[in-house]
């Protein structure tokens, strides 16, 4: 399905100048490098560990959202960025992993007793960990070999897990803050509309069967 969609998209996609995929990774890692640099040189404010931890998590959520905008962009605006989706999806995973590592190493100092207590007792940590675990199989199978081995359909079905990751990430952000400040609510609203769009679209398709492109 992904392969098919990609071929289809390439045909009718809006002609954008193509950049090498490696450029996505290079640009994508700029925030992380900058954050670590500012952290090590003590320029992240009064609570640098917390700043780094939160910023990495936020970037993971941003890349996740970017991954989810590729399809609607193509379907609604005819802008085809499909060839960059894997890179953006993997950046989501790398940032989530850095966010988790910051929590484990810098925040908790690898105190596994405290970490385990957090996982079982704190719903927002439970949700965060579960979200990361959902991302793992997606990252591991984000390569052509996996698509071939699993078959396009099974691979696409597996990768629908990203919707659960998006919900998990948005909920994790909402739960970690005190009260209901605007920022996590804005992110939750974006995730809701991106998933809502897919739900509505699939419902419409069920009622009005899709006409296959010739």
């Amino acid at each position: 399905m992904a392969g098919q969609a990609s071929a289809q998209g390439a045909k009718r996609g809006f002609a954008l100048p193509q950049v090498p995929k490696i450029a996505i990774y290079i640009v994508g890692f700029i925030p992380a490098v900058l954050l670590f640099y500012l952290g090590v040189t003590n320029q992240l404010g009064a609570d640098p560990m917390r700043y780094l931890e939160q910023a990495l998590g936020l970037w993971a959520l941003r890349f996740l959202i970017a991954t989810l905008t590729i399809s609607p962009l193509r379907q609604i605006f005819n802008i085809n960025l499909l060839r960059y989706r894997r890179a953006i999806g993997l950046l989501t995973f790398y940032y989530a992993a850095l966010h988790l590592l910051t929590y484990l190493v810098l925040d908790q100092g690898l105190d596994f007793e405290a970490i385990w207590a957090d996982i079982v007792k704190r719903p927002y940590i439970t949700v965060g960990m579960a979200t990361f675990l959902v991302l793992v199989p997606l990252a591991v199978t984000s390569n052509n070999v996996s698509i071939r081995r699993l078959g396009g359909q099974a691979w696409a079905r597996l990768h629908r897990l990203v919707y659960f990751a998006a919900i998990g990430a948005a909920v994790h952000f909402l739960m970690v803050v005190k009260s209901w400040p605007p920022e996590p609510m804005v992110y939750a609203a974006i995730v809701t509309s991106l998933l809502g769009y897919r739900l509505v679209r699939s419902l419409i398709r069920k009622i009005v069967p899709k006409r296959r492109a010739a």
């Binding site: 009064a46 100092g109 405290a114 005190k178 400040p181």
Partner: protein
């Protein structure tokens, strides 16, 4: 009967400006970074003279003025820790009066200048533990709340003290929000014996100068054995009441924030552990957590206030 006390002209308006500034500069020279910090704060802080207090925590390294004034929770100015330093300058803190009313023999409305002038100011170096799991050591300047309480003579029926922050949406962007983070104005409360405790102070300054706006100018509560959110800022009203008053965070999430809010490593916040804390300014990115102490280390002085109480229930 309400006795309205005349507002004194602040010292800054009597002293010729040149002299006043010179004096500040001299003090700044001695303190090194006071002037720089003053300009960083964007307001004219005035020096305060204060006696050292035996109640200060002297074995602790002070958190830097920069961190104390740029890492704040003051949701009336935004939810980010840096928002108060950026936005609090809009609050006009002069003239300022504090109304003291309720079950007292002598209700009054005090001008802050008078409170400062008529109180024996002390420097109190206290640990400050935030409910979010971080802490600071802050050299406050203030006077015991008990001094004010004695002045107004509470009646026998007064069991609690209720505090209220100023409500001025035009000067406090957080109060204008269509989706307020808390119900405004911010309210807090103490039991009368907690309010009378010698450790409980009304702070009017820190690091030897008047309070920066982001730290709760011109007058705020500091109760060092409780989580930081009990330390209500920019107080305009203090009322003596019979029943336990409502408190802002308790109204917002009663299962997360209790009325007492004593620092207690054995009672977790439902969403995070309170066993440890990070000391701001200590270790940078590689900060090590330190164990949180019962009553924030002030147990010897205050534990008896709660004898016989189940602190898991009264969190």
């Amino acid at each position: 009967m309400l006795i309205r006390r005349p507002t004194d002209i602040p010292a800054s308006e009597i002293t010729p400006r040149e002299l006043y500034l010179n004096r500040r500069q001299m003090m700044a020279g001695a303190a090194g970074l006071v002037l720089a910090a003053g300009s960083a704060k964007g307001i004219m802080a005035a020096p305060l003279s204060a006696a050292k207090s035996p109640l200060s925590a002297t074995d602790e390294k002070l958190t830097s003025l920069e961190d104390v004034t740029h890492y704040n929770n003051y949701y009336e100015f935004g939810v980010d820790k840096t928002a108060p330093a950026a936005h609090a300058h809009t609050l006009k803190t002069s003239p300022w009066t504090v109304k003291v009313d309720g079950l007292v023999a002598k209700p009054a409305e005090y001008a802050v200048e008078d409170l400062i002038k008529n109180s024996a100011l002390e420097e109190r170096i206290y640990r400050m533990r935030c409910v979010e799991g971080w802490s600071m050591v802050i050299p406050w300047v203030g006077f015991p709340l008990a001094d004010l309480i004695k002045r107004v003579e509470p009646q026998g029926s007064a069991k609690y003290v209720a505090f209220e922050t100023v409500y001025r949406p035009p000067e406090m962007p957080g109060q204008q929000s269509a989706f307020p983070v808390l119900e405004w104005p911010y309210v807090e409360g103490l039991r009368l014996d907690e309010a009378m405790h010698p450790l409980t102070i009304l702070a009017v300054g820190l690091y030897g100068e008047t309070l920066p706006n982001q730290n709760g100018a011109p007058i705020r509560l500091v109760v060092p054995w409780k989580y930081g959110f009990k330390g209500i800022k920019s107080i305009t009203r203090i009322s003596f009441v019979e029943k336990q008053p409502a408190t802002s965070w308790n109204l917002q999430a009663p299962d997360e924030y209790g009325f007492y809010a004593n620092v207690n490593p054995d009672v977790d916040h439902p969403r995070w552990s309170q066993k440890t804390e990070r000391r701001i300014g200590e270790g940078g990115l590689f900060v090590k957590r330190r164990p949180t102490l019962p009553f924030n280390g002030y147990g010897e002085q205050v534990a008896q206030l709660y004898s016989g109480m189940d602190l898991r229930k009264f969190y």
